[in-house]
Symmetry: C2
Subunit: 346 residues, 2 copies
């Protein structure tokens, strides 16, 4: 039977698989999308037939229920060494459910991001997962009306039509600054970004604003508010805003710096090294994201780990349940943890 | 006129743009795909109308000539810090021609790569650009029969149905090893990968085999063939093959090591640091790819720069001309250049 079908050149469809396995096409579909409640026996039957027949669920065939089994994933950039962890976690969950992931890179520009999301919808992807988009809640809600939408790195717990998955950036920053205070540092500054991209109510916003909140809270609790200072700098070479070198050259140097991201912290630890400023003796540094470079023994940068892979996994799970029909919003907050290394002097 | 169209809610199409600009739809299409021979006047007219009308070339509208103005880009992984440069270069050229890039991550597994390429074709992307795929030339030729195909990081100058864009890996490796020899090193080993993924004729193959060729040639030219040794190690934690630590613990240590990639070189320079092996006094190291971590002052790793952005740009240009109808193959080889830092003792 199998051979006959293939010899005649007939297309192997979900129907052929169902016939061969002796089950309904709905059952095959369930196995394909890894739906809840599929028995091991059913899965095994269907997978055996799929393998035997050489069946490949094409976009068209998969489209049965209007599905393409593909997810659009929008990243801000490729260079941020934190993002691969998020992608890996998301792909793990999507892959197990037979979804493919197509990644667009928005280059931190709202217009490029929108054009990529439009394309993902044009391609009939089943949902769009955004990481740290530059888009306002209003724009996001507009897309959420048209496609299942989940956003990582955008704090908006009041959003009703899409899900958010975040690390608790206030708690992470607070933990980092408390650790510096516990080590005896008092003059602790923070680096953040120069562009506040859009105004949002308290408790909502982009990750760096939440980290500023955590920094200020920790300083205040320790009675150090008058020593607090936030340097609003450009993200990296080529971005807008004053450079990180300003922090080292203006006035007396702080004893310690909490950086909103490893992008700043790695630049700072290298600047210090190049200028003979000893870390942590002359300057303690804590970063954020626990990127691979921070963990290199030569570098030894303390950094807050926000569990990128978990962010990706949780976001992917939220997306799958949204695709399955959930409409009540989920706003997930994960607990970060400071990874202590030499640079923070403890 | 413009306002009227928008008020009535009529869709702004390529035809509307053509009417508004007073040109043919073919001319608008030419401007949209940045075709050769478009005058500045025509481009300016059309772009003005596009902006005025708020026209967004949708997949459907763009599909006029069967085009979606999207390119599938397949990467092996997200973690390799060299790849963002390639993506940036490719996106620069594709973006200027109004093409969008959708990235799939193949996780260095042929089956995942094939499934992603299948999806890209199902989504009617206009071409597929592969970076260091795990697929054989035969499989690549199979895809090339169905879609414009350009491959980076796969040496197969005899391929007739697809283009290849590579850095000259033999020359890059040779330059790195010659520099070590010029600095007085004699016992120079190399690290490479343990898996030879498939057999290919001389002069063809994966980048690491070409770098082995360059290493061996430099050693032979200096009369050091008997001191040459290639360590075939796993790519990184989690991959197959013996770990890099083998190199430091078995027998007398070499004076210098040329690593096929910064992935190995960064691991080695950190291992040396952790064990009190001075670099370059006790062990000189040269890597490959000139990744951001290699360039950090604290790290100071010499590394061969293979101009990732140029590889991406050239590949994107090749893709555009293939989409425009070129069928004769192009096999482009770029010149790499060693970036010398502290780790190689010069």
């Amino acid at each position: 039977m199998t051979e006959k079908i293939r010899e005649t050149g007939e297309r192997v469809t979900i129907r052929t698989v169902a016939e061969d396995a002796g089950v309904s096409t709905a059952a095959v579909s369930k196995v394909l999308r890894n739906a809840y409640g599929v028995s091991d026996t059913l899965r095994s039957k269907v997978l055996t037939s799929i393998e035997k027949l050489g069946y490949r669920p094409s976009t068209a065939a998969r489209g049965m229920r209007g599905k393409t089994y593909s997810i659009g994933l929008l990243l801000t950039e490729m260079e941020n060494a934190f993002l691969p962890k998020v992608v890996r976690g998301a792909k793990e969950v999507f892959g197990a459910a037979n979804y493919q992931v197509m990644i667009g890179v928005g280059e931190a520009q709202a217009s490029i991001e929108q054009s990529l999301i439009d394309s993902m919808m044009d391609m009939r992807m089943d949902g769009v997962l955004l990481v740290a988009p530059r888009l306002t809640g209003t724009v996001l809600a507009g897309y959420a009306a048209k496609t299942p939408l989940v956003v990582i790195g955008h704090h908006e717990p009041s959003a009703e039509t899409f899900d958010t998955v975040n690390s608790d950036d206030v708690a992470g920053a607070r933990e980092a600054v408390c650790a510096l205070i516990a080590s005896g540092y008092r003059d602790i500054h923070m680096t953040s970004l120069s562009q506040r991209r859009f105004d949002m109510p308290a408790g909502e916003g982009e990750v760096f604003t939440m980290r500023e909140t955590g920094y200020l809270a920790a300083m205040q609790e320790a009675g150090l508010s008058d020593r607090a200072r936030i340097w609003r700098l450009r993200e990296r070479e080529g971005c807008e805003g004053p450079p990180l070198t300003d922090l080292l050259k203006v006035g007396p140097r702080p004893e310690a710096v909490f950086c909103w991201s490893d992008i700043h912290a790695l630049e700072l630890i290298n600047l210090a090294w190049s200028r003979g400023v000893r870390v942590p003796e002359d300057l303690a540094i804590v970063g954020y994201d626990d990127t691979p470079a921070a963990g290199m023994p030569i570098v030894g940068l303390s950094s807050v780990n926000q569990q990128g892979a978990d962010l990706g996994r949780q976001a992917a799970r939220a997306m799958l349940s949204r695709i399955e029909g959930r409409t009540t919003p989920e706003h997930i907050l994960l607990e970060p943890a400071l990874k202590t290394r030499r640079s923070s002097g403890s």
